[in-house]
Symmetry: C2
């Protein structure tokens, strides 16, 4: 499938060349650092489970990154960049072996000022937020894996998350303000992309440049309180989610809606969500609690849990039951479950699909802003039977006007974006002329090379 193979590589020579940089060759360790959470998909599981890198490097700084890039080019070795490996589509799984560049030692925060920060790509999100909160700011959006995930990994492989109800997605203008990358050329260069230019590399899965630093916009931090609201019927819960998202006077960071029986997979929350109930998991600014209660009343909900700001990071965080942590918890109870990623655009479509599939596709909604409007996105849980049936379910969604960002493919363009991003391809031609970076993931490159 890919012209680059690792057959004639002299790994000892390479290790020698990289002397001074931390290298991992231990088989088990390398295996662990070759994978991500691809196993949420039974399709990807079969395709990717045996993929391994040959060695892992853990550079501490850009100089070491440049050395790694130079070596990869010299030996024409595949190079796959990873953060904490919390992705779900095999974004950082090496299809053709080679070097895995683990960024987690590049964890310096360059500066944090009101509204903006500059960090190395391996900085962990939770660690960053702890620091930023000291001056009243925090990351605008984080995945449910924020405790371990890196900022660079999120920009490389993610798209949005907790906070997207306010700030939209990473690709929205203003959220990522600059990216500094190292190219994978004979003589690697450092490039700084600013403004709209960042889209060349944003969400390109590390196929076109090694991100070493980022400038990201911040959000003011609020005294967040975590709330569980239960509902007798799912549609009321969904409408409540839309109404809360559209309530301009209520400050929130998370509006996550779960149809029964999904909450039954949330073992740690079982006290608060009786069997058969549907629920909303909400992060709300604490000073909005009183008017929020009026909204809950209007939609027939009942607040069963509230964790105050002071209790903060202690104990369970409901954020870790939302976005793809929902899938994680459900799969820890029933590993036959998988999921979809869906843009419904309207609540009417949510309702129609909810009724159509019944228990086979359990409705999980995350509200987020797209071009200024709050819309429900689905991370529905699917009772998996066969690949054929899964594709049938996807097809039916699309026939009904929903859009599926297929999480059962490791091809960049077959997931969320659907179309080839010409500017990402052109940028790859410039910064990765030998096609060494994360080979096999960018369809446009493979087609150009006639290898797909």
């Amino acid at each position: 499938m890919n012209p680059t193979t690792t057959k004639k590589i002299d790994w000892n020579a390479i290790a020698k060349e990289l002397k001074g940089i931390e290298i991992i060759t231990d088989r088990l360790q390398v295996a662990k650092l070759s994978l991500d959470y691809y196993h949420f998909s039974p399709i990807l599981q079969a395709q990717l489970k045996d993929k391994r890198g040959d060695l892992v490097v853990r550079p501490q700084n850009e100089t070491e990154v440049i050395a790694v890039a130079r070596t990869c080019v010299k030996h024409k070795v595949p190079l796959t960049v990873r953060g904490a490996g919390t992705g779900n589509y095999g974004q950082c799984i090496p299809l053709n072996g080679g070097i895995i560049l683990d960024t987690t030692r590049m964890n310096q925060i360059r500066w944090i000022k009101p509204g903006l920060a500059r960090v190395e790509s391996g900085v962990k999100m939770a660690a960053f937020d702890k620091k930023a909160k000291e001056i009243g700011w925090e990351l605008r959006m984080v995945p449910s894996t924020y405790r371990t995930a890196t900022i660079g990994g999120f920009i490389g492989g993610g798209s949005g998350g907790i906070g997207s109800i306010n700030y939209g997605q990473l690709r929205d203008r203003g959220n990522v303000q600059a990216l500094r990358i190292v190219t994978v050329e004979d003589e690697p260069r450092i490039l700084e992309l600013r403004g709209d230019e960042v889209q060349k590399v944003n969400h390109a899965w590390g196929t076109n440049g090694i991100i070493t630093e980022l400038e990201i916009a911040l959000a003011p931090t609020y005294p967040w309180t975590e709330i569980i609201v239960i509902f007798d019927d799912f549609i009321s819960a969904a409408r409540f989610g839309q109404a809360l998202s559209d309530s301009d006077g209520l400050i929130k960071k998370l509006v996550s809606i779960h149809a029964a029986p999904i909450p039954s997979y949330f073992t740690a929350l079982s006290t608060y969500i009786p069997e058969g109930k549907h629920c909303a998991l909400v992060m709300l600014a604490e000073f909005c609690l009183e008017p929020f209660q009026d909204l809950v009343r209007e939609y027939g909900g009942q607040i069963t849990y509230q964790k105050t700001t002071e209790e903060g990071s202690k104990g369970t965080s409901i954020a870790e039951f939302t976005w793809n942590h929902t899938t994680l918890h459900a799969r820890s109870v029933d590993s036959s479950l998988t999921y979809l990623q869906t843009f419904f655009f309207t609540l009417e479509r949510v309702e129609q699909l909810y009724r159509h599939f019944g228990d086979e596709v359990m409705m999980h909604l995350e509200f987020l802003r797209v071009a200024g409007k709050a819309i429900p996105a689905g991370l529905q849980l699917v009772r998996y039977t066969t690949e054929e049936r899964l594709n049938e379910i996807i097809r039916y969604h699309e026939e009904q006007g929903a859009s599926i960002a297929n999480p059962h493919t490791y091809i960049l363009e077959e997931g969320g974006r659907k179309t080839i991003e010409t500017e990402q391809l052109q940028f790859k031609e410039m910064v990765d002329p030998y096609g060494l970076m994360n080979p096999g993931k960018m369809r446009a490159w493979l087609e150009r090379r006639g290898s797909l």
Copy 2:
């Protein structure tokens, strides 16, 4: 029109009863404190220019307010509450004389905490913001008259303003969290309205209770920068306004769009807006400037002015050329001008009406959030000829599907709301059983009394 008249009132006896409370009886002073900016409307000007109160009281605290209320009831004297008198519809102009209660001496800030504050109703908005900014917060929305306007006056007679692009309008759940009022009964009572209950009194023009304290939600304060962008054509400017409003990653507080020749009335800004150009006046978080420039480029605009955060309150603030200050500046050049208040809902309708009326109705848009969506609202300048023609213009807008909040009436229900607010009427029946408060303004009350 109203049963209450002031014919047989013994003003000396009243003054005696109110001893200890500041009273103003000087004719010129009383005349000044009887009026507001009603003269923006030639219709209201004719109707209201001779209306005067009989005396003005300036209570310092709630105890004094209660004494005033008791006296009004005892003598069956009309009572009209005013803040700084910066309204535009004669909201606080006494139609039948009586006592004017000026709240501006009740200017204590009870407390400010993150996200929420409690103030007396006479606190001035600019003074409050100065204080709140010390701990990183500010008012969520302010009128263009924020330098002098009071918080109580804004809630009593206003609806939204600078900041509404983020937080919607005052009536949106969460923005006003509590109101404390004194009733105008034989034995005045103090009532605290919380949550949705505040709607009973919000924007009721002081017809149903004297607001003495308020709890208002705050916004985090950003390092705001003021920017002027010019455009060759109006439609590009309008589309830029919508795009900026919908850009979830760009933090703004003001998106104000002006078709030529409106900017020609902004004498102080003439250096930055060449003749014939259309402009956007923007307040933007300073750290968003770089991605903002990309947006400006996309819409063919040109930045001609930027005032940094450090320059702050020094010199001209572009905010004071927006909302109804636009009308103020235009009228200071040409006093025959008046204005409209319009919800267009879509940009297509803006464009159609812009082309239809040409120079007779000059397009001025303010973007604000309504139920989660940013929409363009109009404060168009109208070249006034006759009342008949003005009504024709209004009718045409409505035939085209726009909604006009008529600023040429002093009847509460004929302005923005259109419908009778049953809960405000019922509340008035309870707290103002003699109909003394701001008589002649609430149509529902007049109809109930058979006096209209």
